[in-house]
């Protein structure tokens, strides 16, 4: 986590980060609660909660898909770097804009495809297996997350100074107490 990057960011980036943090923390809490409740219920009654796994899976989907934005906001996405030195240092600034713009376009494409899937699921009225919930409101997390990703990386391409320092793979797992 790199909290110092957030206060400098424009209000839109801050708002996106806040939304993502609230949504993912709530999804994480729900995931832990239902899976653990399922285990305890099985100990107590001999059979688990029949809907717990399905709710847990949906919480996990929300957590990890909205988490794409959290990873973007902290420059934490996985990226092999062995070809980075192909570009001479004098083109570095331009390279960053190209990188961010391409990423934004890729996310935009994924958002468009995901929206088509959601529209189709809505039309077919697909339902979940156990709880018979309508699936499309949960699937909506896909175009939303990819759309936010497109917007965020487009903003980074436009204002590279607001882009978080891209973490080396090493930084990804540094616990805060060590970083401090």
């Amino acid at each position: 986590m790199r909290p110092a990057a957030v206060p400098r960011a424009p209000w839109l980036l801050r708002a996106l980060a806040r939304f993502e943090q609230i949504a993912t923390t709530a999804a994480f809490a729900l995931l832990i609660a239902v899976v653990f409740a399922d285990v305890v219920w099985r100990w107590v009654t001999g059979s688990g909660i029949f809907w717990a796994r399905e709710v847990g899976v949906y919480a996990n989907i929300v957590l990890t898909i909205i988490g794409i934005g959290v990873a973007s906001a902290h420059g934490a996405h996985l990226r092999p770097r062995f070809m980075d030195r192909l570009v001479p240092p004098r083109f570095e600034a331009m390279m960053i804009r190209v990188q961010e713009l391409l990423t934004a376009l890729a996310f935009l494409g994924l958002a468009w495809i995901a929206w088509r899937v959601v529209a189709e699921t809505m039309q077919l009225d697909d339902r979940s297996i156990v709880l018979r919930w309508t699936v499309w409101p949960i699937q909506l997390v896909l175009p939303i997350a990819f759309g936010i990703g497109a917007l965020r990386h487009a903003l980074y391409a436009w204002w590279p100074e607001h882009r978080p320092r891209e973490q080396s793979e090493a930084d990804i797992e540094l616990p805060p107490k060590v970083r401090a």
Binding site: T25, I32, V35, V39, A71, H77, R116
Partner: protein, 419 residues
């Protein structure tokens, strides 16, 4: 020709510094358009189906449990106990470092978290006690890699998901090779530090540290014992690990506050947000490849080239060693496991054994430049030069290569605990 274009597309995107997620998405679009029916909706639909399964639930839960324990007081207490127990051995402090790495690995399932949690305490202690700097650095970097082979292990879960192999079986199979590597590191530490002054067993300290760290020591017993006895599934043990870690750190040790917990949660979400979309794309791509019978064609092709299991083992291990140098272990498993595992099976290898061998092999990638994760973390955390750290791990890489040969040659080492 279209295969060459695909390779050029992937390399071009990497040169343009695109994420693994974007590269895999572009590859998926390409293969769906060129070799499939061109319906791009299927990429997202297959990705959705890939995520919509409960086999993935242990990943966020184990990652959060590891984050909580790395942030809290568990590492310090484990190390205190290990130091008390190993004091009279030759190179006692080095042995304590090995054992602490092994035990902490059995709790957190992450190599770099183990490196930092154990290393930040033991590296200064080793230097103060007069151990050579190169040995100390190499030992901590190498010992930390045990985090991904001793269960619970995120790479083993990823392998299980990608190849439909039982995660519980993989966890149990990781114990033997994990202990083998731990034993090899420990013996090496004793031999090269034979002349270092030895301590004596202080029973009061052993008892005190055991009492102090008993809650932490119970953690691997709970996780592995539950899975091995069949009492928990991997998902259930992961949920219990999170709740147990929260209980120990918030209520018993009181080293973690809610603000730290929120920070750990955000850090874990960041990792999940980087990993899961890649997993989603890799699984979608894998589904397409399976539908088009590409793994079967790969098996047929490789069987004609690699005529014996020994040649398969040699070529696969060399390939994985190279891949481990340039790619993170998660991406390597997501991309290569579904392609290589059917070939391994056609050569008579047990899928669990192949998963363990693959993980032990890629574990070496944590120590090999230019992308060795533990080298980079150690450089940042211990403020040492990259070249010096690279040289310091050479003896340990040789030990791990010997361990890899043993793991590959003796399947029973991985499979003996499986029922």
């Amino acid at each position: 020709m279209s295969g060459l274009l695909l390779a050029a597309l992937a390399l071009g995107l990497l040169a343009l510094r695109q994420y693994v997620l974007v590269v895999l998405a572009a590859v998926a679009v390409y293969v769906y358009v060129v070799w499939g029916d061109g319906r791009l909706d299927n990429i997202v639909l297959d990705g959705w189906e890939a995520l919509n399964q409960d086999v993935l639930l242990p990943i966020p839960l184990y990652m959060l449990a590891g984050g909580i324990m790395a942030e809290g007081a568990i590492a310090e207490r484990l190390i205190r106990f290990m130091r008390a127990v190993s004091a009279p051995f030759p190179g006692g402090l080095a042995v304590a470092t090995c054992l602490s790495c092994g035990l902490f690995a059995a709790i957190v399932g992450s190599s770099t978290v183990t490196l930092l949690a154990v290393g930040t305490i033991m590296y200064p202690a080793l230097l103060k006690a007069g151990y050579p700097k190169a040995f100390s650095l190499g030992l901590i970097c190498a010992g930390a890699t045990l985090g991904i082979i001793i269960p619970p292990s995120i790479p083993l879960i990823l392998y299980g998901v990608m190849t439909s192999t039982s995660i519980a079986d993989l966890f149990i199979a990781g114990v033997g090779p994990g202990l083998l590597l731990l034993g090899m590191f420990t013996v090496y530490s004793m031999v090269v530090n034979w002349r270092m002054p030895r301590g004596r067993w202080d029973m009061a300290e052993v008892r005190g540290s055991l009492k102090d760290g008993v809650w932490a020591l119970l953690m691997p017993v709970l996780i592995l014992g539950g899975i091995y006895s069949g009492f928990f599934t991997a998902t259930e043990s992961a949920a219990i690990a999170v709740v147990y870690a929260l209980f120990v750190e918030l209520v018993l040790y009181r080293k973690l506050d809610l603000r730290s917990l929120l920070r750990v949660t955000t850090d874990t979400t960041k990792l999940l947000g980087a990993l899961f979309p890649v997993l989603m794309m890799a699984l979608a791509l894998n589904k397409f490849l399976t539908f088009e019978q590409i793994p079967n064609q790969m098996v047929a092709l490789l069987e004609s080239v690699l005529t014996t299991p020994a040649s398969f083992l040699l070529v696969t291990n060399l390939l994985l060693l190279v891949v481990g140098c340039i790619m993170d272990i998660g991406s390597a498993i997501l991309i290569l496991a579904p392609i290589l595992q059917p070939v391994a099976e056609s050569q008579g290898m047990h899928p669990v054994h192949f998963g363990i061998m693959m993980t032990v092999n890629l574990e070496i990638g944590y120590l090999t430049p230019p992308m060795g994760l533990n080298l980079i973390v150690a450089m940042t955390a211990f403020k040492e030069g990259f070249g010096f750290i690279c040289r310091s791990v050479v003896p340990f890489i040789l030990i791990m290569l010997l361990g890899l040969v043993i793991v590959a040659a003796f399947p029973a080492l991985s499979l003996f605990l499986l029922k």
